[in-house]
């Protein structure tokens, strides 16, 4: 018998893989039937509300939990802070109340608030002003790195540019806030958790509750957005479980919108002073930067490891300072920390190009030789495709030299990279004697299309229609699968399912071969039949009937080094936009993304990932930011009115082009969730500079910042 090897089929023979296939759970979401954690209403569910701090820095000096325990409807109270405990950011949780009705819990929180007293301490929330931070003793050196000889290189450079750039902190703003529904059944705890980590969270509940992880079942059938912020049980999850125990009733505790924004996760800010230089040819010869920012009270910021992003120039010097701010702690935000690295690197490069009087396209093309991970040639191809789509050659004009009139059009580009290698995954695949196929895994579909690509993988492998296979995920009682973060899910789950399905199929082929007296080697599964060459041997159902009474159960595991998956993607984004120099308003006209990501399982959902990345990118490039009030230490726009997100009319024409020559198919499956959200900030900033002739140094490019830059630029 020939050796049986895992692998993907010939691209030309795929029936489902690589096609555009609607996600299988779209209708259940669109009709409102999908039940999220926040929708969990088991009988007797109590509703929790939270008391959080209005101070950015304080000590809790008094609180009287007893005072509210007998208020109408109140069933349980939980203290996050004891008297004497310190509060380090606004929104930090102090206590929670669970009551029969939400409004009763709200009343109790208000009553509780009246009993709370604080000694207010000094706070600091200015993430951008490193001098002030140093004066306030809030800075900490986070390291330096050197390569080559920057000083020497600067001496001989043809053009030297010095600049300041920055990008403010943003929040994750998951539309379904963080939270859980906790219900005890004896010693067992059932948790519906809005999470990106179904398999990873049971032990996080078990330990603080003093039970075994085997007593905990975490369920997440649907999750309303996480973007990197939902990997933990979180103290409020533990609180829900404790209150449920105390009350002997299920408790649903979701963060309210303001608290979600304040403590549900933020993306660190990054600011940079940089000197960058190029030779007469336009090649960068030196990069010298110091950067700073905050990741919350712990200091930190944007790690400089990959600066200047994603280049490796001959001479580099860089240093980083972290600022400790009394703001909610950061959490991983889609592609950490690449969007910030990109947004503070590539505008500096683009300004250098302008100094050299070079077309940005030519400048970036020339410097692709310095890109990391050996992706230069792919970037070059992607740049050509993007430029053609956006009509770069025709639309390009030197900086600020567009048509006359108050509305200025401009072009900008940026490029990015990401790993996206497969995460750990185990799945159990069952083929029932009646031909039904299902798999089980403790993964989650956070909106990326995980269910869909798993079903496509199984159906393609087994020669069945999509409806012929079923996936069960979202429970920690299923075989363990990695958290969905870092774009590791698609590779992890598709690899494991391909292996499981191929293994199962080989077993079926052996049964068919024995029964029908054919060679197992020559068998294939297609269109619901088992074929020997071109001849039909039997139907899928007939083959499965050979199993007897018991289903065939196979485990698929990963990652393996068998070529089914790999890593390292890149992409190029180009944007055409208009800036109204009267109002400072930026409008996206057209936004093109060319992205490589290995073998694509579902082109429709892959493109959705890219389009979603562009839109999230437009949001942080133009409108969204955490605004802290220096005086009060408060997050003053922690609501959906003042935390500005674009609407359907604010994103312009979006074009997602998947770069997929056969060389990409041959790389196997690679994750795609993060990469498209990396470059929009830099691309948009560069296009605005091209349009108006001056750099708006700090993202988001709000009308005020655009107008300020115009004033400065004209002065």
């Amino acid at each position: 018998m020939a050796e049986r090897k895992f692998g993907w089929g010939k691209r030309s023979e795929n029936v489902l893989i690589g096609k555009s296939i609607p996600r299988i759970d779209a209708a259940v979401k669109a009709t409102g039937a999908a039940k999220y954690t926040a929708d969990t209403n088991s009988k007797g569910t109590l509703f929790a509300r939270l008391l959080s701090s209005k101070h950015a820095a304080a000590k809790l000096t008094a609180i009287d939990l007893e005072a509210v325990k007998n208020l109408p409807g109140v069933k349980a109270v939980h203290a996050f802070k004891e008297v004497g405990d310190e509060i380090r950011w606004e929104g930090e949780l102090i206590a929670a109340v669970a009551a029969e009705r939400a409004e009763q819990a709200e009343d109790a929180v208000k009553a509780l608030e009246a009993t709370a007293k604080f000694e207010v301490l000094e706070h600091f929330v200015d993430e951008a002003d490193v001098a002030r931070a140093a004066f306030a003793n809030r800075t900490k050196g986070l390291g330096k790195a050197n390569k080559g000889d920057v000083e020497e290189a600067l001496k001989t450079a043809k053009a030297v540019h010095k600049g300041f750039y920055g990008i403010h902190t943003i929040s994750h703003m998951c539309l379904e806030p963080h939270g859980s529904h906790c219900e005890w059944k004896g010693d067992d705890l059932d948790v519906h958790l809005s999470t990106q980590s179904v398999s990873g969270t049971p032990s996080q509940f078990a330990e603080p509750l003093g039970i075994d992880a085997s007593n905990v079942t975490v369920t997440a059938n649907y999750e309303g957005g996480g973007f990197g912020s939902k990997f933990q049980a979180d103290e409020w999850g533990i609180a829900a479980a404790k209150m449920a125990k105390e009350a002997g009733r299920p408790v649903r505790l979701m963060l309210d919108r303001a608290t979600e924004l304040k403590i549900g996760g933020t993306r660190p800010s990054g600011f940079i002073d940089v000197t960058v230089a190029a030779d007469a040819d336009g090649k960068v010869v030196a990069w010298d930067s110091i950067h700073w920012g905050t990741a919350g009270v712990g200091g930190g910021g944007v790690d400089l490891g990959q600066m200047p992003y994603p280049f490796d120039f001959p001479n580099v010097s860089k240093a980083q300072v972290g600022i400790s701010c009394n703001t909610g702690p950061n959490r991983a935000w889609r592609a950490p920390p690449h969007p910030q690295l990109c947004a503070i690197t590539q505008p500096a490069l683009d300004d250098l190009a302008a100094k050299l009087k070079m077309d940005s396209y030519d400048f970036f093309m020339k410097n692709l030789v310095f890109t990391q991970h050996g992706k230069g040639e792919v970037y070059a191809e992607e740049m050509k495709i993007a430029a053609k789509e956006i009509d770069w050659k025709k639309k390009w004009h030197p900086r600020g030299k567009g048509a006359a009139g108050p509305v200025k059009q401009g072009l900008g580009m940026a490029l990015h990279t990401w790993g996206g290698g497969p995460g750990a995954c185990t799945c159990t695949l069952k083929i029932h004697p009646d031909g039904a196929v299902e798999s089980f895994l403790g993964s989650q579909d956070i909106g990326t299309g995980t269910r869909t690509i798993i079903c496509i993988t199984m159906a393609e492998t087994l020669g069945l229609p999509l409806e012929g296979v079923k996936v069960n995920l979202g429970s920690s009682k299923y075989p363990a699968s990695a958290p969905s973060g870092g774009s590791i899910t698609v590779g992890g789950v598709s690899g494991a399912h391909r292996r499981a399905a191929q293994t199962a199929l080989w077993k079926l082929f052996d049964l068919v071969a024995a029964k029908y007296k054919v060679e197992a080697d020559g068998l294939t599964a297609k269109d619901g039949n088992i074929l020997n060459g071109k001849d039909k041997v039997c139907t899928w159902k007939q083959a499965c009937a050979l199993l007897g009474q018991m289903p065939l159960e196979v485990q698929g595991k990963g990652p393996e080094k068998d070529g089914l998956t790999s890593e390292r993607v890149g992409g190029v984004q180009m944007v055409d936009l208009s800036v109204d120099t009267g109002t400072g308003l930026v409008r996206i006209n057209k936004f093109v993304s060319v992205q490589d990501c290995g073998m694509i399982i579902d082109e429709l959902t892959a493109k959705s990932q890219v389009l979603g990345g562009l839109i999230m990118g437009i949001a942080y490039a133009l409108t969204e930011e955490q605004i802290m009030d220096n005086k009060t230490g408060r997050y003053i726009n922690a609501d959906l009115l003042n935390y500005k997100l674009p609407g359907i009319g604010d994103v312009g024409e979006l074009v997602a082009i998947m770069y997929q020559p056969d060389s990409e198919y041959d790389r196997g499956v690679i994750g795609l969730g993060e990469p498209p959200v990396i470059a929009p900030g830099a691309a948009i900033s560069n296009a605005v500079a091209n349009a108006i002739g001056v750099r708006v140094p700090v993202l988001p490019l709000t009308p005020k910042r655009v107008l300020d830059a115009l004033k400065g630029g004209q002065a």
Binding site: A26, G32, A34, G612, G647
Partner: protein
Amino acid sequence: MRDLSHPLSETAPGETGQGGSGFSRRAFLKGSGAAVAASVIATAVEESIAQEKKVQRVVAGKPTELKLDINGKSQTVTVEPRVTLLDVLRNDLNLTGAKEVCTTTNCGACTVLIDGKPALACAKFAVECLGKKITTVEGLNSGKELDDVVKCFVKHDATQCGYCTPGFMVATKAFVSANPGATLEQIRKGLGGNICRCGTYDGLAKAAVECVANAKKGGK
């Protein structure tokens, strides 16, 4: 960013723009200003009594039995006048298609139809809805066949995490019914009151374009 001339804004005159972390009229109503709340609600109730003679009497501040017409069924809940329609739908009736996202009229996730017009359930007290016909996303999707809006959402992948999607479904349904044959520009304005964090606007716009075209052809 969002277009305040959007049809959904109509549902909340005086509410739009009053949200915010510091102060919102609704939070105030729901909170300690019970006396003020009572009088405001009393006014609202008087108005609805004037329109609908058979309406029940409501005692402000106390849980009151309300008979609401939801998805063609009469539903009885006993809630205080400060309880929003959204809370009643989600917490009392387990109709969780309408989502609670902002509670300040800024996202559209809680969109329902009241007497056939789109409205934000977070901006309505349940008592205000006495005598009105409330239709939720579940009500719009109770038929055997998928609604054309849902079909188009599926086809154009107008959903990712899906949390905003029911709100968009109801808003799109209302928009399409009122504006068959609308242009892309009109669609962008008409659906401008709904927010999606995952970034499904491209699929949503394509879906809506197909829906309005289908609606113009008629029959759908």
